[in-house]
Amino acid sequence: MKPDIDTILNLSAAEIMSTLAPVLPTGYAQGTASIISMLMMFSAQEHERGADIRHTENQNMRVLFAKLAADVSDAGLRTKIEIAAKTKDETFGISALNAANYELKRLLIALQIYFESENNESSQNARREIWKILKAGADARVLSIPASA
């Protein structure tokens, strides 16, 4: 058995706070140690969920693009989102998932601007669908500050 990454990060953060920070000079040094400790605890949270958040969001955007393509009269934009809708996350490394996420989000911005320029019911529904994805992604990324901080 070996320790999991989040265990290492959380226990190391606790060690910094309980053992190392108290012997540092007060002020900047102690404050910085506290922030580093908190960043390690955030990293522990992200280690567990990071790939899942990105992959889920990427898939949600692809599904939405496929759903909305028929409502987009701009041929250039429609072609782009149709192509993007068919892409896949080939690997689950964070950097690869990020690269795909950023490409999809650039298209999402273009799609959002497109539907903001239209004032009918289907456009309003499309805007709601876009916000549903954005809100879900924002909710999923929330970081909790440990009570011990």
Partner: protein
């Protein structure tokens, strides 16, 4: 490093205090945000036969600054509001030359025997929260009430006409320059703010720019002794400061009690009484949306500074991550609610 800095500070301050020698002791860096390096120190000298020891603060530009803030603006704001009787430290000296301490800096009085409320703890002010909250929003009202021209700050950055647009454009530029990934929510917020401008301000005031929990010092009796961090001061709609102070990020987990102090309605009432202004609901809703966008822009810049290695203070990683996630979520909530 500290010895060399102490020696240079002593040489610099001697002529400022009109003495031959100033001894610098107890120089230590303290937390003070990522946009300035902050040090406390003691300056001891003898004048007219009387030994004097002064507790002072050095605020020096870092190698790279989070937001390109102007230390001249910060120094002048301290000067103006100190003269007006607001609780701010007495400014001592401003040095723009890089020849003295490698980077521009200013020196001000240290307010001793005080503390700062950490934004990371749920109830930093405890039993003092009522008293602190009352003073906090009254002081902000007094800042809003001041006439920028009469206190010598009429030439600060900012626009007197369409100040809302000046501010949105400013922070949009920061986001475009510093975004490391497509900021879908930030750009949606910018488009909304531009499409739905607020009514004109009741007056143009000095806007502190970062007035919030964590940016003031208070003593053990609950007296606010110093309003700090004026580096983003500018001219604009005073509602900008009020919305920033009431932003949920600074509410210690309970937006009904902004800044971890008094109830939101009471905070607004205190501000209105002190400023002589009224809070228009529609205008304020716009400035609240703007406050979250401005926060997001600052955190995006923090992330950029950190990732590019220009300023690797961990506080930039914290702001660029935790605070960015916070304001992204808040804006997503507010903007998606408008579509419902």
């Amino acid at each position: 490093m500290s010895d060399a800095l102490s020696e240079k500070l002593g040489h610099y301050l001697a002529p400022k205090f009109d003495v031959d020698h100033v001894a610098i002791t107890d120089l230590a860096r303290i937390p003070g945000g990522a946009s300035r390096e902050t040090y406390r120190f003691r300056a001891a000298y003898t004048k007219d036969g009387t030994p004097i020891t002064r507790a002072l603060i050095l605020r020096r530009d870092p190698p790279a600054s989070l937001i390109d803030t102007d230390r001249t603006t910060e120094f002048r704001a301290y000067h103006a509001f100190f003269a007006l009787g607001l609780p701010v430290p007495e400014p001592i000296a401003l040095e723009l030359s890089e020849a003295v301490l490698e980077r521009p800096f200013f020196i001000m009085e240290e307010i001793t025997d005080c503390q700062v409320g950490s934004i990371l703890v749920p109830d930093p002010y405890g039993a003092l929260r009522q008293s602190i909250g009352e003073q906090l929003f009254e002081c902000l009202g007094r800042i809003a009430a001041a006439d920028p021209d009469k206190i010598g700050l009429g030439d600060l950055e900012g626009a007197r006409e369409n100040c809302w647009r000046f501010e949105v454009d400013r922070w949009e530029r920061e986001i475009i320059e510093d975004e490391r990934e497509p900021q879908v929510i930030a750009h949606a917020a910018i488009r909304w703010l531009k499409k739905n401008p607020p009514p004109p301000p009741q007056k143009i005031s000095v806007v502190h720019g970062d007035y919030r929990s964590g940016n003031f010092l208070y003593d053990s009796k609950g007296n606010i002794r110093a309003i700090l961090d004026w580096e983003m001061a500018h001219l604009g709609d005073p509602l900008e400061d009020l919305a920033w102070a009431l932003d949920p990020l600074w509410a210690h987990g309970n937006p009904a009690f902004p800044a971890g102090t008094i109830a939101r309605d009471e905070a607004i009432a205190r501000w209105q009484a002190a400023s002589g202004l009224t809070v228009d609901a529609a205008a304020f809703a716009w400035w609240e949306m703007f406050a979250s966008l401005k926060g997001l822009a600052i955190w995006i810049s923090a992330a950029r500074e950190y990732c590019d290695g220009r300023n690797t203070d961990p506080v930039n990683a914290f702001s660029g991550w935790y605070c960015q996630v916070f304001h992204n979520r808040l804006l997503a909530e507010r903007l998606s609610a408008l579509e419902s």
